[in-house]
C-alpha cells in the first residue's frame, strides 16, 4: 500500500493569507496599504463619476437647498413650523415626528409584550389561551394591513367634528382626531416644577435610606405613604401659594374643525396603535422564551423561600431572563422604528413622507435627500443599539 503524496497548498493563497494576517513584516504591510488604496480609489471614482454625470445632465446637486424656503405645510409639527421655514426645518419636523411615534410605540409595545408573555405563561387556562391567540393572530397579519385597518376601519368610522363624541365637554373625539384642552403656562408653573423635582429627589433619598436600613439591620420601612404625600403635597402647597401652574384652553367647534386646544391626529393614533400591537406580539414571544430559558429550579427556589409568584418573577426570573431577552428585543425596537416609515400609507408626516417625499420631489435632489434620510435611520438604529448594549452591560455587571 502506497501513500499518495499530498498536493502542496497553493503557494499564492498561502502567502496572501500570511501577508494579510499581519505576520509578514513589511511585505504584508505594503500589500495592506495597496488594498486600502484600491478601496479609496474605487470610492473616489464613484463620487467623481456621479458628480461629472450630474453636471453633464445639469441636475442640481449639493446641499444648498436646505437653506431654501419649503413653502408647504405639515399636519403635525412638534416644533413651531410654517410654510415660510426652510427645508432644514422640514427635516427636523419630520425627524421629530418619526422619533415621537417610535418612542411611544416602543414603550407600549414593551408593556403589552411583557403582559402578554406573562399571560401566556400564566397557569390560568383562559388567560394563557387569549394571550396565545393574540400572538398568533397579530404576528401573522401584514403590518401595513393592520395600519390601514386601524386608520380606515376603526378611526375612519368615528363621526365628523360636528357630531363628535364629547367627554365632560372638554375632550372631543371625531374623525379629525382627539381634541384635548391645551395647557397654558401660568406664573405658578416655575415653583410647581421645582416642587415636583424636590419631591422626587427626597423620595429617592428616602428609598436609599430604607434599603440601607433593610440590608444593615433587617428593618423593613414602609416608605410609600411618605413618597405619596411628598409628590402630591408639595406641588399642592406651591399651587395654593403661587397660583395654579397652568390654565386650560378649552376647545370649541368653529367652522369645520375645533379651534383652540391640542389635537392628536388620527394618523398618529393609527400608526402608534398598529406598530405597538404588532411589535408586542413578537416581543411577547421573545420575553416568553427568555423566561423559559431560566431554569425551573430558580422559580422553585424562590417559592421555597416564601416569595410570591409576582416577586419571584420580578426579583429572580426576569433579571436572569433579560440577558436572553435583550439582543432580540433590540432587534424589535429597531424594526419598529424602521416600520414607522409605513406612515406614508396613511399620510402621517414622518421623515420619509415629509422629507424624502414632498421635499424630494420639490427639489428633485434625490441623491442628497435619500443620503441624509438613510444616514438618519442608520444613526437612530445605532443609537438604539448602543443604549440597549449599555443596559445589557450594566445588567451583566450588576449580576456579576
Amino acid at each position: 500500500m502506497s501513500i499518495e503524496p499530498r498536493a502542496p497548498p497553493p503557494q499564492f493563497v498561502a502567502r496572501l493569507r500570511h501577508a494579510l494576517s499581519g505576520r509578514a513584516g513589511w511585505g504584508g504591510f505594503a500589500l495592506q496599504i495597496l488594498f486600502v488604496a484600491i478601496l479609496v480609489w474605487i470610492g473616489y471614482e464613484i463620487v467623481a463619476n456621479a458628480r461629472a454625470n450630474l453636471q453633464s445632465q445639469r441636475i442640481t446637486s449639493g446641499f444648498g437647498f436646505l437653506e431654501r424656503t419649503a413653502g408647504f405645510d405639515v399636519s403635525q409639527n412638534l416644533i413651531p413650523y410654517s410654510g415660510s421655514d426652510t427645508y432644514t426645518r422640514v427635516f427636523l419636523v419630520g425627524l421629530l415626528n418619526t422619533l415621537v411615534v417610535s418612542i411611544i410605540g416602543i414603550f407600549f409595545a414593551t408593556v403589552i409584550g411583557f403582559l402578554v408573555a406573562l399571560g401566556r405563561l400564566s397557569p390560568n387556562w383562559l388567560l394563557a389561551r387569549i394571550s396565545g391567540g393574540y400572538v398568533e393572530l397579530i404576528r401573522n397579519l401584514p403590518l401595513l394591513f393592520q395600519i390601514l385597518f386601524w386608520y380606515l376601519a376603526v378611526l375612519g368610522a368615528l363621526p365628523n367634528p360636528r357630531q363628535s363624541i364629547s367627554l365632560f365637554g372638554v375632550f372631543f373625539l371625531s374623525n379629525r382626531g382627539l381634541v384635548i384642552p391645551k395647557p397654558i403656562a401660568d406664573p405658578g408653573l416655575g415653583p410647581f416644577a421645582i416642587a415636583i423635582l424636590v419631591a422626587i429627589i427626597v423620595s429617592l433619598l428616602l428609598r436609599r435610606f430604607a434599603r440601607r436600613q433593610l440590608f444593615d439591620s433587617g428593618r423593613l420601612i414602609t416608605i410609600w405613604p411618605y413618597v405619596f404625600g411628598l409628590l402630591i403635597g408639595l406641588p399642592l402647597v406651591t399651587s395654593l401659594v403661587f397660583g395654579a401652574p397652568v390654565t386650560f384652553e378649552i376647545p370649541e367647534l368653529k367652522g369645520f374643525n375645533f379651534a383652540g386646544g391640542s389635537r392628536v391626529i388620527p394618523e398618529f393614533v393609527a400608526l402608534t396603535l398598529a406598530l405597538s400591537i404588532y411589535t408586542a406580539a413578537f416581543i411577547a414571544e421573545i420575553v416568553r422564551a427568555g423566561i423559559l430559558s431560566v431554569h425551573k429550579g430558580q422559580m422553585e427556589a424562590g417559592s421555597s423561600l416564601g416569595l410570591q409568584r409576582g416577586s419571584v418573577l420580578r426579583l429572580i426570573v426576569i433579571p436572569q431572563a433579560l440577558r436572553v431577552i435583550l439582543p432580540p428585543l433590540t432587534n424589535q425596537y429597531l424594526n419598529l422604528t424602521k416600520n414607522s416609515t409605513l406612515a406614508v400609507g396613511i399620510g402621517y408626516p414622518d421623515l420619509v413622507s415629509v422629507f424624502a417625499g414632498t421635499a424630494l420631489s420639490q427639489t428633485g435632489q434625490a441623491i442628497e435627500i435619500l443620503g441624509i434620510t438613510m444616514g438618519v435611520y442608520l444613526l437612530i438604529s445605532l443609537v438604539t443599539s448602543a443604549i440597549m448594549s449599555f443596559y445589557g452591560w450594566r445588567l451583566g455587571r450588576g449580576m456579576g
Binding site: I46, Q57, G71, F72, D73, N160, G347, V354, T358, I367
Partner: protein, 338 residues
C-alpha cells in the same frame, strides 16, 4: 478605460445612467423597438389603463403619437406607471424616454432636474372639491378646513400660498397616491380634496356618489401640464416637441383621423408641407416624411384626442376653455411646420 466600467457601479449607486449623457435616445429607442413612456398610476382622461390593460388618455396619446412617428405603430410602447414623487428620478435614470404624466411646468423643474418640458398639452389650474352637504360655495369659506392632497406635487405649495394670502387656517394631510387622498376625503377625514381641476373631475368619477360632490369655482394657480425629456439630447427634445405641435397644427388645418388620406392629396402648400409631399421636415426630425399622417391616423389631431379623452366625448366632459385653439378663443398655439 476603467472609468467606463465603473459607470455601471455608478448607475446602481446613484440611479443615474450615463447613456443619457451620450445622447442617442432616438437610436436607442429604434434599436430597442419600443418607446418607454412614464405615465400616472391611473388618472382617467390623462393616463389610465382600461379593463383590458390598454392605456388611454390625453397624456398617453402623446406617447402613442411619438411611437407612431417613429415606428408607424402606436402600440410599440412600454408604459411605466409612476407616482408623483418617483417620476423625475425615473426620467433622470433613463428608465423612461419621455415623461407624459400631467406634470406642471415650473421654472425650478425646468432648470434643476436635468430635464426639459417640450410643450403644454393641457392648460390647467388648481381647484377644490367639496361635499355639497357642507354648503360651501367659495374657496374663501374654507377657513379651518382639513385638506387632503397628494404629496410630491406643486399642489401642496399652491395650497399653502392660497391659505396664507387669504389669512385662513387649514390642516393639510398629504398622501402618497391620489387614490389614498381621495379615499381619506371620501371617508370624511378631510373636508376638501385639492388637485388640478382636470384631476378633480377625473377623481370625482371614482367616488361612490359623484353627484354629491362639487368643484368650487376658484382656480388658484396656473398649471401648464406637459411632457418632459432628459437634458442633453436635442434631437430627441425636438422630436417630442414637434409631435405635439404637429397635432395642434393638424387641428388648425382641419386634418382629422377620418379625412387624413384625402387631405394628403391636397395641393395646398401648407398641407403639402404637413404631409411631407413638399420638403423633408420629417427627416430633419429623424423620422420619415409622412410622420404627421402617421400621427393623425394613430391618435387624431389635438382636438380629437382632447374630445375623446377629457372633452365632450368623454365621461369627464371638460370644456375646451383655454385649451381651445388660439384661432377659436383659446391659447393652444403651435409654430408652423415650414
Amino acid at each position: 478605460m476603467k472609468r467606463v466600467s465603473l459607470v455601471f457601479t455608478l448607475a446602481l449607486a446613484a440611479g443615474l445612467s450615463t447613456q443619457a449623457a451620450t445622447a442617442q435616445t432616438l437610436k436607442t429607442i429604434k434599436d430597442r423597438g419600443m418607446l418607454s413612456c412614464g405615465v400616472s398610476q391611473g388618472l382617467p382622461g390623462f393616463s389610465s389603463p382600461d379593463d383590458k390593460g390598454n392605456w388611454t388618455g390625453l397624456d398617453v396619446d402623446i406617447c402613442r403619437a411619438v411611437a407612431a412617428a417613429i415606428f408607424n405603430d402606436p402600440t410599440k410602447i412600454k408604459f411605466v406607471p409612476l407616482s408623483a414623487k418617483d417620476r423625475f428620478t425615473a426620467l433622470q435614470s433613463g428608465e423612461i424616454d419621455v415623461l407624459s404624466r400631467n406634470t406642471t411646468w415650473t421654472l425650478s423643474r425646468d432648470t434643476t432636474l436635468g430635464a426639459n418640458f417640450t410643450g403644454v398639452t393641457y392648460y390647467d389650474g388648481q381647484g377644490f372639491l367639496v361635499k355639497k352637504s357642507l354648503k360651501v360655495n367659495s374657496a374663501l369659506e374654507l377657513n379651518s378646513a382639513s385638506v387632503c392632497v397628494q404629496t410630491g406635487t406643486t399642489t401642496e405649495q399652491n395650497l399653502a400660498d392660497y391659505f396664507k394670502s387669504n389669512n385662513m387656517k387649514y390642516e393639510v394631510i398629504a398622501f402618497n397616491t391620489a387614490d389614498e387622498a381621495v379615499k381619506a376625503y371620501e371617508s370624511g377625514r378631510c373636508d376638501v380634496f385639492t388637485t388640478d381641476v382636470s384631476g378633480l373631475y377625473a377623481e370625482r368619477l371614482k367616488l361612490a356618489n359623484p353627484a354629491d360632490h362639487a368643484v368650487l369655482p376658484e382656480v388658484i394657480s396656473k398649471e401648464p401640464l406637459g411632457p418632459m425629456v432628459r437634458h442633453g439630447d436635442d434631437q430627441w427634445f425636438d422630436l417630442v416637441k414637434w409631435v405635439l405641435f404637429a397635432m395642434v397644427d393638424a387641428e388648425e388645418l382641419g386634418v382629422t383621423q377620418k379625412n387624413v388620406d384625402d387631405m394628403a392629396k391636397s395641393d395646398k402648400p401648407e398641407l403639402k408641407r404637413l404631409f411631407g409631399t413638399d420638403g423633408n421636415f420629417g427627416e430633419q426630425l429623424g423620422v420619415t416624411k409622412d410622420w404627421v399622417s402617421r400621427i393623425v391616423k394613430a391618435v387624431g389631431n389635438y382636438g380629437e384626442s382632447f374630445d375623446r379623452n377629457v372633452g365632450a366625448g368623454s365621461k369627464l366632459g371638460i370644456a375646451r376653455g383655454l385649451n381651445q385653439l388660439w384661432s377659436k378663443g383659446g391659447i393652444q398655439y403651435a409654430p408652423p411646420i415650414r
